[in-house]
Symmetry: C2
């Protein structure tokens, strides 16, 4: 090495060592250091991690080349990524938006922004299946349900749906179900948002219904074939319309009335429940949730008691615990598609819990008076706009409106006015060639109205908003609301920031999240949701984009989504992606609809049989039904693989009509079936398409891919493999990848045409299946972050470590538990099933007892009784450290010892720590201790708890009581009153 | 009202109702709603709040007009404020910085950014006086101390100082103290940072020392008058110099050696402790803490055991609790100025705990290997820069350096090169007319080096950084570090994000903060630190500014600081402000130094007597001594007021030499002395100046003001009245306001000249007293936020509600406790003292027992034994809701009942819940319960705890054991080993 004089001794510098060192890979993959990785592989009985992988992933489906992610092949550092997002953000033009159409500017109270939306204590929670360690978010979701019922005037609501448009479609399904599927027509008012109409129309297709879109006046009830109607209140053009007669007409033929509505408007307007509607749906976005270029937001559905058995989604309810104390829980989980499978009326699984919590907290913070004040202001500004438009000699479409005014700007002039507004940084909506509509929201101001006057007048108006104000009166005509709402103390207490902060902190403290310990839920992939991944979603340039803003304003989003699609194509081995589906189940539906469209396009209208292995997730059959498919079940063999002989039989029987196979890979049993390619071949040979459920992609990325294996379409749960946090039950994203032949059929959108990404020439979209063009676009940034910060090598390594960690645990646990399914070389995939069924006989201990006992040990239970009843399925993910895996294994082994003590009689068969689990502070600190084991054994059974103990806040929840006394809103001042229900 | 046609009925719109409704005032002032306010006033025995205020604040000092805050008179909404800050931020030019001089770019790991710096669970904590509910931050601060001792090679370090320059000055004081004040000279190397030299020189002034600044070679030890020397390693120009001989020379005459150093450099270089230095000081800023235009950052001071009694600041130590379990605590709190008053060797009180925690967590996250990697990269880039400079035919000042290279760019050319760099968006430093220096940091890259080559070459260089790299070798000459550091497991475990996240969460969960309940510490004003106030400090445009960036790059900062100064002038009734002091105590020092300079400017060199009431905070006398004043104490009367007769006597005795009076208003006893104006008059009549301690400004804002009352100077604890969070013991800001005659004397700065704001023509600064021109500029944004979001009316209302809340509590508690001091109409100010001394006799219960018992009730204790020994001082602030005040009162009343039970013999005199408090989970859940009261009484003595229980993680800490076994670093792998020390 040439000496430059200043140095005498020392080692020469490598350029590599001068690269930024804030590499994300070792931050994400906890056991990345070579010494740890090597030791763990050895503990699993292999020389190295690569040997373990070679023995686990079938050779003939192994990807032979490294992932080629183009410019993103090399991992970006965390800091570079954040700079990159700032640059992308700067390419978005964040105009002031008056477009409306279901998306409004809103101010997320910063105390909620920071302590809920940006807080891993909230966003890394899982769906509250384990009620005892979820009372915080259960309370918040009960607040959400109460808020929805109060505002809509119905007694029941669920804890969120995916978006307003799919909520309308879900309501349509309910109407059809109420008519026992015997009335195929659903009448839709043409004053609904276009995306709502599009989604209902598409969804009707699959269900064999027909959406008839027309003015309400033209609704035809004469055929006794109408199951329901959909009205919008206020309508998409802002008008408030008298729906009394159409409601009467519908009811006269026993058709149900669905009303799409707006929560803020309902603080001023008579609620749908009081107007005679049967179901209300809508979005809670404008209650503090940023527009995010389309989502995520929590949609809602409220209805009457009589619909409770067909209400889609999760519903939180009150109950009591083992000791009779009040406790909350998910009341409707047993009615989900999990159990009902092909008989389910909806496939919704992941919903929008985090966003529902934000909306609920927004109402808690503002209270009824605060909300009325906001609504009054919004309405007032709209009133002034209307008055001004008239002053300018323009007519308004309707004199009754809440926040949106449609103005006749003169024949052919609307486009020019919209352009003039854009030139001033204001987005407004063009309704038709002579009308624009202008929607106000919480962020609008008097100054904005002045700017809009100047736009309308084409120069400067001779008056100001302020000068007009006093001449304008608020008016909701006959729609003025008279009933109270949000009277419960929870909506009338936490109005100062300290009170709110502490309420949030109190609820958070009740809930176990990834901030505390691993959440080893099989099939859920609860991996690290890294801070740098989360940061872009609260950058204004991404958060404040309206989905229907002119496309050239969204250049940053376009670039990001395009990059993401390219990366995901390479990762999946597919040719094109659709970013529209908002959840895994939505992805299933979209994929099957694409297959359906493909078959139909080939003239194969009859190809409607869908083969689904018994091991499939419950959403699979539910989605298949929604796509109009007939389900044929196929067995699995003793190793957990698809029973190929049975498959052949079923295929042979249905060869003519074979539409698709739905298959999960690795299987839901945690096994890499080596004959998967053969399975795909059988389907293809018989004219069918292979739908792959991508829930287990975390065992595939970089090692193999759905495309390579032979699938035609696959959804990706971005909220599993690709690092979107679970948010306590959503948001998620379920984009689908497809082979080229399916690309033309990917969904589009009525406002912003989409389709395959990268785009294809031929476009024959099966329809539209979400309110927003690219679903919950905002959180795509999270997966994008994950992918580009991991890069090609990091992504592959993540899959390898997911497998390593699972095998390490399986091997540590295999002395004490039976691992139900293993691959050919005795290894498992990225997850595995512990068979705890034998303990039922030996000690009367069931999976649930172990799950609840794990709470005492500080852990969330693995997936319980799925995919195999009575078992536990463990998925560690690559983000967990060996220390953490060991702690969990220690806990499981200690529990096994406790079971042994029951078996041997050392512990009482009934009064033992497993049956009594979880143990609360109340119980452990009670004056009287009536158990034959110690208090310490109850609550501190293992050493690491001395360092940190997470307490359940309720004893085991009584589901039977809750079912018998279904109560799904805050009904009275004192929550303890619930306990007296029975 | 004119009808606009579209409306038929309804109420007319007021323009007021159309203004944005996200008003901050009711979010901050919890009891703002008129119905609550009115009821509380009545409960206090007054018709209205205004009557209560009229009866409480002396009429003759009442401000007669509303605060006139100019454009900020009207409160900004939260959203508008955030927009305003974005606009101000956009006026800052955030260049890449290579200036060095103690401030470096750094990447705050986002997991730390979000979960610590942006987390109210961390930033709203108080100084860990109540060890039992502070074990989390105590552990983190112990990590900090361990990190400092490991890196510097000394056995002891404190838990932060205010900045590097004042740390140097504190070390100077230690050297002087070691020489018993008998050696007045302190020799300072001219290779120290200019701000360090300036602060030491100024500080020497007050202390009667002399700083002699010269090259080390010229140090003159011959007079036996040198107490110490200050060297910088690496030096300000980047050079690594051989200090062996100067150290030997110093030690030969028993002078002490202070070394200013750099933590990142020390990962490569032999530490000061091994080089023979006696004290090391420096800044931990580059360990993950943003530059923030000068602060806040945690400075450090490490030294040998023998200095422990004179070490300034707080020191965390290990001890055991009541049950012999290991526990952490503030070991040195008793050595603070609180107790030692005028004998204190330092006045530091609020320090930089939050920033020390960030720096410590940065080291925990990176570990020794990660830090070495960063250092290696920084050093490598510097090496390449040096090599390239030589290729360009330039010489470098020193061939030995760590991160900073000084290049000779040719006579007279340095300024032009600096300008050329700025033109490319790069800030470098001009050392003299022919030299520039370029400092690298964690954020620097190879590409940056290329840009710098093009700057140096004045065009494009014929080589690239990458092409040079292989020819360059790393070299630390004889300085190469050989010793290990950060070997403790805590620095070698939490390197993945999940592990780090959970470590942070685990520590956070141990600490009570404002997220849990009110912290009613008298004199500390623990008010809401609102989210919107906190948001700007992590905006890049503010966080990433170098304090010595060219002034025109800081236009946004300038505007903000200027606005803030204007507002604070109006609030205080003064003519000018200085933003330099970093804490209340620093403000005291600055104010007294300004008074001193004023007297001297008048020829009154003899005016050096400072009268201080006995009730004053300990920092007052400590600051006075540091300013070279002689302290004369003055009594207080039975009502807690200054004893005016005694004051007159003291003034008369010292009239000739009277320099100043220091007085707190309202008094530290929580009383508005009505004769305060008379007191000021007496001082003025005798040629003295009135220094007002502004700690109690929360009872003055808008109602009266220091200027109105007659003070000449006053500091403001922005971390009390003006909403900067306490951060577990800092950061704070203590700007001072002065009357016009003192404005010329306000401090300036050697790099960025400052002085009075608004500026005055005459400038005769007493010197410089902080490393950065405007102190911890970054957090000025928090106070600015508070002021502009409250506006004139909100600020005044806040003071009124602070008084209301205190009186409400005093009135509720007065049946059970004696309120020690009250004003003339029986009211208290914004805080009050509960006299619990009688219980010592009646039940052997002391203030400490009540304080610890409050922990069981979920509360942080009020201020204990200050200002009156054996009492508790309660300050609720305006941010607490009536519900919260009631809960705290309920707790105090319940405790009073417990005391009564001890008095009556119902509870055991020794084995009772007060003496045994606080009760941990361990204790309450122990198998054996050996107390004559119940477990429930121990831990759940009151109803509201059922909703949320905050647990202390240790029983009462044994201070005596800790003092006897002083251990202030992590010494071994297992923390439990500490318990065996004795
Ligand atoms: C195997 C499998 N398929 C489908 C789904 C449904 O995905 P989502 O909840 O996103 O709708 C899940 C969800 O857990 C799953 O595990
Ligand atoms: C009355 C009083 N004066 C001065 C101070 C010192 O302020 P700081 O801690 O900011 O140095 C305090 C701190 O609590 C105080 O209460
Ligand atoms: O330390 C004090 O805040 O007094």
């Amino acid at each position: 090495a040439k000496s430059n004089g200043y140095v005498q001794t020392g080692r020469s510098i490598s350029v590599e060592s001068l690269r930024p060192s804030d590499s994300f890979i070792p931050r994400h993959i906890s056991n990345a250091p070579a010494c740890i990785e090597g030791k763990m592989a050895k503990d699993c009985g292999f020389e190295s991690l690569s040997e373990l992988i070679d023995k686990t992933v079938p050779t003939h489906i192994r990807k032979q080349t490294e992932l080629d992610l183009g410019q993103f092949t090399e991992a970006m550092t965390e800091n570079k990524f954040l700079e990159h997002m700032q640059e992308l953000g700067s390419k978005n033009v964040v105009n002031k938006n008056f477009i409306g159409m279901g998306y409004y500017g809103t101010l997320t109270p910063t105390v909620i922004l920071r302590n809920l939306l940006e807080n891993p204590g909230w966003y890394t929670q899982y769906t509250p299946y384990q009620a005892e360690i979820s009372q915080g978010r259960l309370e918040s979701l009960l607040n959400f349900q109460t808020m929805i019922t109060d505002l809509t005037g119905f007694p029941m609501a669920n804890a969120s749906l995916l978006d307003e448009a799919t909520a309308a479609a879900e309501a349509m399904t309910m109407c059809s179900a109420k008519a026992n599927g015997k009335k195929p027509k659903f009448l839709v008012s043409d004053k609904c948002h276009p995306q709502t109409i599009a989604v209902c129309t598409s969804r009707a297709e699959g269900l064999g219904l027909e959406c008839v879109v027309s003015p309400e006046a033209d609704f035809d009830f004469s055929g006794n074939d109408v199951c329901g109607v959909l009205l919008q209140y206020p309508a998409t053009d802002g008008s408030l319309n008298e729906y009394g007669s159409v409601i009467d007409a519908a009811h006269a033929v026993n058709a149900k009335v669905v009303m799409a509505t707006d929560l803020l408007a309902l603080t001023m307007l008579t609620p749908p429940g009081e107007l005679g509607a049967d179901i209300a749906i809508g979005s809670s976005q404008r209650f503090g949730v940023p527009m995010g270029y389309g989502g995520p937001h929590a949609a809602f559905l409220a209805t009457a008691e009589e619909y409770k058995r067909i209400m889609p989604g999760r519903v939180i309810g009150t109950s009591i615990d083992q000791h009779g104390n009040p406790a909350l829980r998910m009341a409707m989980q047993t009615r989900e598609q999990h159990i009902r499978r092909e008989k389910a009326t909806s496939n919704i699984c992941t919903a929008q819990a985090l966003l529902a919590n934000i909306a609920a907290m927004y109402a808690v913070y503002h209270g009824p008076e605060g909300l009325k004040q906001i609504a009054g202001r919004v309405h007032g500004l709209a009133g002034i706009l209307a008055a001004g438009a008239k002053e300018l000699g323009m007519s308004v479409k309707s004199d009754l409106f809440f926040d949106t005014v449609s103005v006749n700007v003169g024949g052919g002039k609307a486009a020019g006015v919209v352009e003039a507004a854009v030139a001033k940084g204001y987005n407004i909506r063009q309704l038709d060639e002579s009308h624009v509509s202008i929607a106000f929201d919480e962020t609008s101001s008097l100054e904005d109205v002045d700017v809009l006057f100047s736009v309308l007048s084409g120069g400067s108006a001779s008056f100001t908003a302020e000068s007009l104000a006093q001449g304008v009166t608020c008016n909701a005509g006959g729609f003025k609301r008279t009933s109270d709402f949000l009277t419960h103390p929870v909506f009338n207490t936490y109005h100062s920031e300290h009170e709110m902060l502490r309420y949030l902190a109190r609820l958070e403290a009740k809930d176990l999240s990834l901030c505390h310990s691993m959440i080893p839920l099989g099939s859920c992939t609860m991996k690290l949701n890294a801070t740098s991944e989360m940061m872009p979603i609260t950058m204004g340039e991404f958060a404040n984009m309206h989905p229907f803003a002119p496309e050239d304003q969204a250049a940053g989003y376009k670039e990001m989504i395009g990059n993401l699609a390219d990366i995901l194509c390479e990762v999946t081995g597919f040719d094109a992606m659709s970013m529209q589906p908002n959840s895994g189940a939505s992805g299933e539906y979209a994929g099957l609809m694409a297959i359906r469209a493909y078959h139909r396009n080939n003239g194969d209208y009859h190809r409607n049989v869908c083969i689904i292995p018994v091991s499939a997730h419950g959403t699979n059959p539910a989605s298949a039904v929604m796509s109009g498919m007939k389900i044929v079940t196929c067995k699995t063999d003793a190793q957990g693989n698809v029973d190929i002989e049975d498959l052949k039989v079923k295929v042979a029987k249905n060869a003519e009509n074979l539409g698709a196979l739905m298959v999960t890979y690795p299987s839901t049993y945690g096994v890499y079936e080596s004959r998967i390619d053969e399975i795909c071949q059988i389907i293809h040979d018989n004219g069918g398409q292979v739908y792959m459920d991508g829930a287990n992609m975390n065992a595939q990325v970089g090692l193999t891919s759905p495309g390579l294996i032979g699938a035609d379409v696959c959804h990706l749960n971005l909220h599993k493999t690709f690092a979107i946090p679970h948010g306590g039950g959503g948001p998620g994203m379920g984009p689908i990848g497809v082979k080229a032949h399916l690309a033309p059929f990917l969904p589009s959108h009525p406002v912003v045409p989409t389709g395959a990404m990268p785009a294809v020439d031929e476009k024959k979209p099966f329809g539209c299946m979400a309110a927003a063009p690219h679903g919950s676009s905002l959180i795509l940034a999270i997966s994008y972050a994950y992918l580009v910060m991991m890069g090609s090598k990091g992504l592959t390594k993540a899959s390898e470590h997911a497998i390593l960690n699972a095998n390490y645990m399986a091997s540590r646990l295999s002395e004490d538990y039976e691992i139900l399914y293993k691959g050919e070389n005795g290894t498992v995939a990225h997850e595995f099933i512990l068979d705890v069924r034998p303990f039922k006989d030996s000690a009367n201990i069931e999976a649930e007892d172990i799950a609840k006992r794990l709470i005492d040990y500080g852990y969330h239970a693995p997936t319980m009784s799925w995919p195999v009843t009575g078992t536990l399925m463990v998925e560690p993910t690559e983000s967990e450290s060996k220390d953490e895996l060991d702690r969990f294994c220690d806990a499981m082994i200690a529990i096994r010892k406790e079971i042994a003590m029951v078996e041997s009689g050392q512990l009482d068969p009934v009064n033992n720590p497993l049956k009594n689990a979880p143990h609360t502070q109340d119980v452990v600190m009670a004056e009287k201790w009536e158990h034959p084991y110690s208090r310490e054994m109850a609550a501190f059974p293992i050493g690491y708890l001395k360092d940190f103990k997470f307490w359940p806040t309720t004893s085991r929840v009584d589901n039977v009581f809750g079912d018998r006394n279904l109560q799904t809103t805050l009904c009275c001042d004192d929550i303890s009153a619930y306990a007296q229900a029975e």
